[in-house]
């Protein structure tokens, strides 16, 4: 997909740590990536890789004892006069007026759990209307009309009736559609979708993915899609960021990541997924060991204890940085840039 010259969101060397009694968890440990207008960027990784904390850091909703300790998150907003202004979100007060104005207005969010992300005490319409009236100067009646319009847009049948229903009256798929309607109600430039289809069945998942694609085409928003499902990434994304234990190990255009991955972790991850197209009852290549406990983070490259290409004396001592390995593609591995 085509994208503008300037990223709408730039994350630079982001570090979000959780300060707990037992020690410090480096949930995000130096993540760097860009998101462009109209682009879908996939952030993939297994549990504990920091993909959700990255999203929460962007929205400044990291819960205590978590804290952004370093880095920049630059949001570029278009002003009514045609100029763009740059805001470093890490410098803002998370509870301040500006951050609250950005949340929902410039950046929308879809959570994984459609069940828990709506309140059961208010109707769907009530909650969508609240978000609309908070950010746009509309009367109650106008906001309600817009909420109904949004529900229609995301393909909810009979939106005039559904708007007065409660979240528990909707099925999982419809609830996720309502969630999308709420996230898009104020026409944000960026949509962060944190595992938007993980709790859904495959046929419902296909419906929701098609909906997100259509809405993106119509509105030109940028989507940051956080998922562990590589199939979803292949179908939806233009570019991919692969994370492991809080660090970006590889990033690049989706075709290059899937057909020409360079980092040993990306390669191993792609090989180990069971594919619907593979021959049946053939053993899968696996990654040895399991993801380390967050307190027992390996020294050096976080992947070295499980890596097949580990170079003793280098990988377990020094931490590799992201370096170009191909056009638009970067990886953090000493295999490609041994002398740092």
């Amino acid at each position: 997909m085509e994208h503008g010259p300037e990223p709408i969101l730039s994350v630079r060397n982001l570090k979000t740590y959780f300060f707990q009694d037992e020690g410090i968890v480096h949930a995000v440990d130096g993540a760097t990536f860009d998101l462009y207008r109209g682009q879908t960027l996939g952030i993939v990784g297994e549990s504990g890789c920091g993909k959700s904390v990255t999203a929460r850091s962007v929205l400044r909703i990291v819960e205590r004892p978590g804290r952004i300790v370093e880095g920049e998150i630059i949001l570029r907003r278009e002003q009514p006069n045609g100029q763009t202004d740059e805001i470093d979100l890490t410098k803002l007060n998370p509870d301040g007026a500006l951050m609250r104005a950005i949340r929902g207005k410039d950046i929308g969010l879809i959570f994984q759990e459609p069940m828990t992300s709506f309140s059961a005490h208010y109707t769907i319409g009530n909650q969508i209307t609240e978000a609309i009236r908070l950010h746009l100067k509309l009367s109650k009646a106008e906001a309600r009309a817009r909420a109904i319009e949004m529900l229609r847009l995301v393909g909810i049948p009979k939106p005039e009736r559904r708007v007065d229903e409660y979240s528990f009256q909707l099925s999982g798929g419809l609830r996720q559609r309502a969630m999308i309607a709420m996230a898009l109600a104020c026409d944000p430039g960026i949509l962060i979708a944190d595992e938007p289809t993980t709790a859904l069945d495959v046929t419902t998942q296909a419906q929701i993915l098609a909906l997100l694609e259509r809405l993106q085409r119509e509105r030109g928003m940028a989507i940051m899609l956080i998922t562990h499902n590589l199939g979803v990434v292949a179908e939806m994304c233009d570019a991919v960021v692969v994370m492991y234990l809080g660090r970006v190990v590889e990033k690049g255009p989706v075709r290059q990541i899937f057909h020409n991955a360079r980092h040993p972790y990306t390669q191993a991850l792609l090989r180990s997924i069971p594919s619907i197209e593979a021959a049946p009852r053939v053993k899968l290549p696996t990654i040895t060991g399991s993801i380390p406990h967050p307190y027992k983070r390996p020294k050096g490259c976080p992947f070295h204890p499980r890596c097949a290409h580990v170079m003793p004396g280098l990988c377990d001592v020094q931490t590799p940085a992201l370096q170009p390995v191909a056009e638009h593609q970067e990886a953090s591995c000493f295999l490609y840039h041994p002398s740092q």
């Binding site: 297994e46 549990s47 099925s171 798929g173 419809l174 069945d201 495959v202 046929t203 419902t204 998942q205 296909a206 419906q207 993915l209 098609a210 562990h228 499902n229 590589l230 199939g231 979803v232 990434v233 292949a234 179908e235 994304c237 989706v254 075709r255 899937f258 057909h259 191993a268 991850l269 792609l270 180990s272 997924i273 069971p274 594919s275 619907i276 197209e277 593979a278 021959a279 049946p280 009852r281 053939v282 053993k283 899968l284 290549p285 696996t286 990654i287 399991s290 993801i291």
Partner: protein
């Protein structure tokens, strides 16, 4: 792949399980949820049959009826034991006891299925204790042997489950299930709670164990790519009924039921070059408390005829080991998944 000469170990015929819907002060029964509605399947000795379907289709209820954790409403569950075939469905609790050791379960969530206050030795040896193997040394030897079999060190038997990762816990659950040399192992979503890199390890372990011990496996899952890797035959369920059963290669390459086709098409393929080949299944899964008339799938089926709205299709054998419940099974040519 499927060896038709092998004897049939488990033969389930017309299994039904209805749950009553009660209402009001007197708990009047106002209807039934038809969780399992006429399921017929068989499993041969030493093979893996997978039961797939979306959430709420009754696959777990079927599995729980087979191990008689639930009492079926009607139908037969014929299990071949050392001294002949017995119908488990009508047996009362007491008479079931000697049969329980022949059927063991592996559960979905490795975090809640192991008692945190018991050591590995206690957990894995409990089935032996229950079945009259009282001698401690015998049990210790057997536990050591089992732990080795599933890829854990025997020294670990004094430890508690919290010391292990998700994948290792699932191995413990497998060791427990194998403790009594059961003739049938029922695995209910054994890998869906695990990360992809660990998922592959557990799938490989199950394939290995089957080759070593000649295990018979009934594998309940929702992920079609996992199912393809593990099974010799696959049964697809929709709203309490089995719509298609076929040898794995046939089911994936040339499905005969429109629901199977839609399910295969909905799985996101981990290859960006296949983008945009999605086929959408509209609408939602039918309500098992109030299923549609005729074929339960007809409101969502693109090939539906008037006949489908009124007459319930019967299961028929269109080829060896290939059963389909569809009026148009013999005339339709449906799209499967390309082999790569």
């Amino acid at each position: 792949m499927t060896d038709q000469s092998k004897e049939i170990l488990l033969d389930v015929r017309n299994l039904r399980k209805y749950f009553p819907i009660q209402k009001g002060f007197l708990r009047r029964v106002v209807g039934h949820v038809r969780a399992v509605d006429d399921v017929t399947l068989y499993v041969r000795r030493g093979e893996t049959l997978s039961l797939v379907g979306e959430s709420g289709c009754g696959k777990t209820t079927t599995a729980r009826c087979i191990v008689r954790a639930l009492k079926p409403t009607s139908g037969q569950i014929l299990l071949r034991g050392p001294d002949g075939v017995v119908d488990l469905a009508p047996l009362p609790k007491r008479q079931l006891r000697p049969w329980r050791r022949h059927m063991q379960m592996i559960f979905q969530d490795p975090y809640s299925s192991l008692n945190p206050r018991m050591t590995l030795f206690d957990i894995v040896s409990e089935p032996m204790l229950v079945n009259g193997i009282k001698d401690r040394q015998t049990r210790m030897d057997r536990v050591a042997e089992l732990l080795q079999l599933v890829g854990l060190r025997p020294e670990y038997m004094r430890r508690f489950p919290h010391a292990f990762s998700g994948g290792e816990r699932q191995r413990i659950g497998i060791a427990r299930a194998l403790a009594l040399n059961p003739s049938l192992v029922i695995a209910d979503e054994p890998v869906s709670a695990l990360d992809v890199s660990v998922q592959a390890q557990i799938l490989n372990l199950l394939l290995d164990l089957q080759a070593q011990l000649g295990l018979t496996l009934l594998f309940v899952a929702h992920d079609l790519s996992v199912v393809k890797h593990i099974s010799e035959r696959v049964a697809v369920m929709y709203v309490g009924r089995i719509v298609e059963t076929a040898p794995t290669p046939t089911l994936f390459a040339a499905p005969k039921h429109p629901y199977t086709e839609a399910l295969l098409a909905a799985v996101p393929k981990p290859d960006p070059d296949l983008k945009g080949q999605r086929m959408l299944l509209e609408g939602e899964v039918a309500d098992p408390a109030n299923p549609p008339s005729g074929c339960y799938f007809h409101p969502r089926c693109r090939y539906a005829l008037d006949l489908c709205r009124t007459v319930t299709p019967q299961q028929e054998e269109v080829a060896a080991d290939h059963f389909v419940s569809c009026h148009r099974a013999r005339e339709l040519t449906l799209r499967g998944v390309k082999r790569t």
